[in-house]
């Protein structure tokens, strides 16, 4: 064991004061230490994308960052997408276009798509496909995820 550091993680605008070993991944800290279990962990080595969160405006794999590296940064997870009872356009589009079945990969896909579209609202269809190839889904066959993200992208662009 190495000594724990006391850090503060700011998740969806709320501060969580926690003590973690340096080896604690951000994904584990978000779930185990901060109790925000919406972020899912699949492969734990950066391949599946289930743990994707937005850190200082950038969609990243939270299993490939250590929690101590995220101290003081603004972290957004799936819990922060909805405004009260009103779902984020991306969440609504996933429901309407049947972009999920078991739902395990969904938080990662939502944060990936929202993170990229906030950075590049006018991203081309081809580049958006390349972005969605980042994450794995074993249920849907991806087509409905693509439909959902395209629909939400159009809505997010309209809302600007």
């Amino acid at each position: 064991m190495t000594e724990k550091s006391n850090i503060t993680l700011n998740i969806n605008g709320r501060n969580h004061a926690i003590g973690v070993e340096p080896r604690r991944t951000l994904a584990d800290a978000i779930r185990e230490d901060c109790g925000q279990t919406g972020t899912h962990i699949g492969c734990e080595h950066g391949v599946c994308g289930a743990c994707t969160v937005i850190v200082d405006g950038e969609p990243v794999r939270s299993c490939l960052m250590f929690a101590v590296q995220a101290a003081g940064k603004k972290i957004r997870t799936v819990e922060g997408l909805a405004k009260g009872d009103e779902l984020h356009p991306m969440q609504r589009a996933f429901m309407e276009h049947h972009g999920l079945q078991c739902g395990f990969c969904t938080p990662g896909f939502l944060m990936l798509a929202v993170g990229v579209l906030e950075r590049e609202p006018d991203i081309s269809n081809e580049d958006l496909l390349d972005v969605l190839a980042s994450n794995l889904c074993r249920c849907t066959g991806y087509q409905n995820i693509i439909k959902a993200v395209r629909a939400a992208a159009a809505e997010m662009r309209g809302a600007r």
Binding site: T2, S5, R23, T25, G46, P59, V60, M65, S134
Partner: protein, 284 residues
């Protein structure tokens, strides 16, 4: 799938980083930049460094600028920086084209150009770029600074001429002439996966003939390198199918392909023939 314990160092200046690295390197200390290769191998416990020198907060390592005819890329420059054109002319276009083949978008947000070079995966796109274009690596340590030519930097699978107390502080790529053409092709079985073979070519056309040809192959041997036999098959010839096929054939003959349980040497040799020809066709 949890990394083994380590001590985390977060230097703020390059001097501090080099001092810590000099101290901890002999105790299995490693540099942590983007972490997109190191952290997965730590999760698998294939690497269990006792110390990590995290350079993400070191000032002055984020340079991305043209100096003396070269593009200077600091150790904290992420892959995603190249999503946009960072320099006018063919080099900028080459980098924006190649970057799309590196893993996936979220990985490109964190992973760094220099980290890829230091990691020296034979399949790395940036290692192929550095080797093909004749890049330079700036290695800094408490002992001083040295410049290593890319051709002398890669020594084998994940093995470089960097000493354990040296930080890969910066990489430099020579600008390409305004009339340079480039082509790149990579083969892998899944989008964003490691290249099973990749080729990068650059050349100029002078008086209807190919000149200054550079043909680099990555992912096929234990390190990326230029293939002189393929370059000789191009220089002085008209750019077109005949020369491209001859160069692809020469490259396929010249390589000493890696073999693994899924891929025989002969299959990889075939891939080299295909990726070199397709890179050349992409250039035309």
């Amino acid at each position: 799938m949890k990394p083994a314990p380590f001590i985390h160092h977060v230097p703020k200046t390059i001097e501090e980083a080099l001092a810590i690295l000099a101290e901890v390197a002999p105790q299995d200390g490693r540099v942590l930049a983007g972490g997109q290769s190191l952290v997965p191998i730590m999760a698998f416990r294939m690497a269990r460094p006792a110390h990590l020198v995290d350079i993400n907060e070191v000032k002055g390592l984020d340079k991305l600028a043209v100096e003396g005819g070269k593009l200077v890329i600091g150790a904290r420059v992420r892959h995603a920086a190249f999503h946009k054109n960072v320099v006018d002319g063919p080099l900028g276009k080459l980098l924006t084209y190649v970057v799309r083949h590196i893993a996936h978008y979220p990985i490109r947000m964190r992973g760094t150009f220099c980290g890829s070079l230091a990691h020296a995966d034979p399949a790395s796109e940036w290692c192929l770029v550095a080797a093909t274009l004749g890049g330079e690596i700036i290695a800094k340590s408490k002992r001083g600074e040295r410049v290593i030519a890319a051709a002398n930097f890669f020594e084998g699978i994940m093995s470089t001429s960097l000493a354990e107390d040296e930080l890969l502080a910066e990489a430099r790529l020579p600008l390409l002439p305004a009339d340079a053409k480039f082509g790149f092709y990579e083969f892998n079985r899944r989008a964003g996966d490691f290249a099973m073979a990749a080729a990068l070519v650059t050349y100029r056309v002078a008086g209807g003939k190919i000149a200054d040809a550079r043909v680099g192959v990555g992912g096929a041997e234990d390190r990326p390198r230029r293939i002189p036999e393929a370059e000789a098959a191009l220089n002085g010839k008209a750019a077109g199918d005949e020369a491209f096929r001859a160069a692809a054939e020469a490259a396929a003959k010249a390589v000493d392909p890696l073999e693994d349980v899924q891929t025989s040497g002969e299959y990889r040799r075939d891939l080299v023939r295909a990726v070199v020809r397709r890179a050349l066709e992409h250039s035309a």
